[in-house]
Symmetry: C2
């Protein structure tokens, strides 16, 4: 992969206007009066409001996308200055936190006319969503808005966010390239005798040096002849000859994630691990070949699973073999037997085959792709054909 | 602050047993049959289950603390191996994601006897909480459990988590010391002409080098004669002589946060900024002096506000002048006029006075303290008496 010029930060106002128009077209079809949003990714998607302040669980934030016109922000005063730099015009604030009335009066004022009219509004309440406000406040808000009908906004948001714009794809490609360069340096920064947590720290530093804004996700494992789970924080166990090491990272650039992993053997690789690696490498190839517009997420699952079945007919316990990728580490769809989502151009996906082998060992592989008319285009530098030995 | 020996990772089984017993004592008083939890911090608090996998919004996770006995985990199969390493015995899993039944059958099976008995269970639904599962799934679960009564579990969780154990305080002290050492290096890593985003990256790398596991939160600002907001991501604007620079970080060690900031002037400091700094430094002193068991969060607010009033009678727009600190960047209580929480020994708190000055400038200061019988003990190395010039 050749180094790319760094993309521009943020998006044009047109991009936000387009996203809003598309949402409004869906809403017009469904007869909705608006769409109520409460999470970081949802607010950022329509407004461009981008801050790490969401780390604090204290204050709720609201965005209302009306049937016509720009979204309305109803947010804590601490965010007013930053929100005024977005394309929005209607920004209503309160001095938060205020447990007695954290935006409830402002939200009631906005929604009361719709309640009186018996309108329907959308609110994401389906798979992979949650409501980011106190449940008690939501119940109180709804009690004061009798007549308002709530529909599940998940299909709308899912439909919009699964398909990326070129500007979004550029950002994801950029962070994937940063991730690839970081993994390429692992043979230099990992060494026998190094506690795994020190390698994690070194890898994070490397990803930042390569240009990542942040590394919100880094998990992995290392153990003799293979690792046992894929979501652990690092231990202080030193890397030892014969270990299979896996690092899986979600690094970000301008609010977009990469999500992929790499495997390494320390000093020497056992046959079972080399075989598992070979199977997963070929399963990924099968996934790449199957990934084209018109196929389904289930097709990708089947294509990868057919190869995995060579040595593991149970499958891993991760529940799926990849997923969507973007503003969040994992997004819709899921490469799983139950997901018949049709794949379309400009979806960004992970291919993540996994298997169990030996005595409780598991192995995972992962690449990131963007779907083009002609098929899959790799955003990550393809993993080595054979299990690399450090 | 002298370098400390690194604390042990994790907690003893006794610590989890104690937390559970304390929750159960409250539940017995309230007549609850259990406590249902869905968020990262809540699950980790009672089980020790610690993973960055929560970055993925795809799968719900549940912990049920019964009236008697150990907590029960109802979690995606991908977390089973890691959960089995905790002190829990009863771990029930399903192959997730499974949008048609993401834990709902397992939860129904667990709670149905309580529903039949008309029992009350606690669920955090108050200030600074949220429900981390799809709202539609929650509604579906409750529809199938008619008779079950839900009480707000927030006061219970708040009461437990506000007061830290010595082992928790050790971890927070450790990350605060790492933060202090990192800020001490800013004069060496920041320079005129450096884009702010490069400084952010360098600061993150420094914090990792100093021993932080991660830097989930880093915000700040820099502008001529003062900054305008305190939650921005960094721009690529180069630091210029006369800028006031602020960095505010929430770094973590073993799942516990520090949360404090430091101000610097680039090349030279204007009088208004030096005066604002002086007022905030003294407001922090007033907060430290007021922080002792028996005082209230409101008292801390009043003590700091009295000093701030010297130059700003509006107050900042951040809504409070500090908060609790621990597994989350911000926790209860809030140093605000509305919060009459009585402070007790072993609370860990931030003191965070802020003010507006000049034309839309704001300034913030922040220190982290632990409350002892004798009063406040600083966990952070106290900010310089005068605005440091780089």
């Amino acid at each position: 992969m050749t180094p790319m010029a760094r993309p521009t930060r943020g998006f044009s106002e047109q991009e936000y206007a387009d996203r809003t128009s598309r949402a409004q077209a869906h809403m017009a079809q469904a007869g909705w009066a608006g769409l109520l949003l409460t999470t970081e990714a949802e607010l950022r998607y329509f407004s461009g409001f981008h801050t790490l302040f969401w780390q604090s669980p204290t204050r709720p934030w609201f965005l209302f996308v009306p049937a016509v016109g720009k979204p309305v922000a109803i947010i804590p005063e601490i965010g007013a200055d930053l929100m005024r730099r977005t394309w929005l015009d209607d920004i209503r604030t309160w001095s938060a936190p205020a447990p007695e009335d954290d935006g409830i009066s402002l939200m009631t004022e906005l929604l009361a006319p719709m309640a009186r009219a018996g309108d329907v509004i959308g609110l994401p309440k389906g798979h992979e969503t949650h409501l980011r406000m106190p449940l008690g406040d939501y119940e109180r808000l709804m009690d004061g808005l009798r007549g308002l009908r709530i529909a599940d906004g998940t299909p709308l948001m899912r439909g919009l966010r699964m398909v990326k714009s070129e500007a979004e794809i550029e950002k994801i490609a950029h962070i994937c390239a940063i991730g690839s360069r970081s993994f390429a340096r692992v043979p230099e920064i990992a060494r026998e005798g190094q506690p795994l947590e020190d390698l994690f720290r070194a890898f994070r530093r490397e990803a930042l040096a390569q240009g990542a804004d942040d590394v919100p996700y880094l998990v992995g494992g290392a153990d003799a002849g293979g690792y046992h789970d894929v979501i652990s924080p690092p231990s202080d166990r030193p890397l030892a000859r014969g270990d299979i090491l896996m690092l899986d990272t979600g690094a970000t650039w301008d609010g977009y994630f990469c999500d992929f992993d790499r495997n390494f053997a320390i000093g020497a690789a056992d046959d079972a691990s080399r075989r598992a690696y070979d199977v997963l490498w070929r399963a990924t190839e099968a996934g790449i070949a199957a990934a084209r517009p018109g196929a389904t997420a289930r097709d990708l699952f089947e294509a990868m699973q057919a190869v995995i079945r060579e040595i593991d007919d149970v499958g891993g316990d991760v529940g799926r073999l990849g997923h969507g990728l973007g503003m969040q580490l994992t997004e819709w769809p899921s490469h799983a037997a139950w997901d018949r989502t049709e794949l379309t151009e400009n979806m960004v996906l992970t291919l993540e085959p996994s298997l169990s082998y030996g005595a409780g060992r598991i192995m995972v592989h992962e690449e990131n792709i963007v779907l083009r008319a002609s098929g899959a285009e790799l955003l990550t530098e393809r993993a080595a054909r054979d299990l690399p030995i450090i």
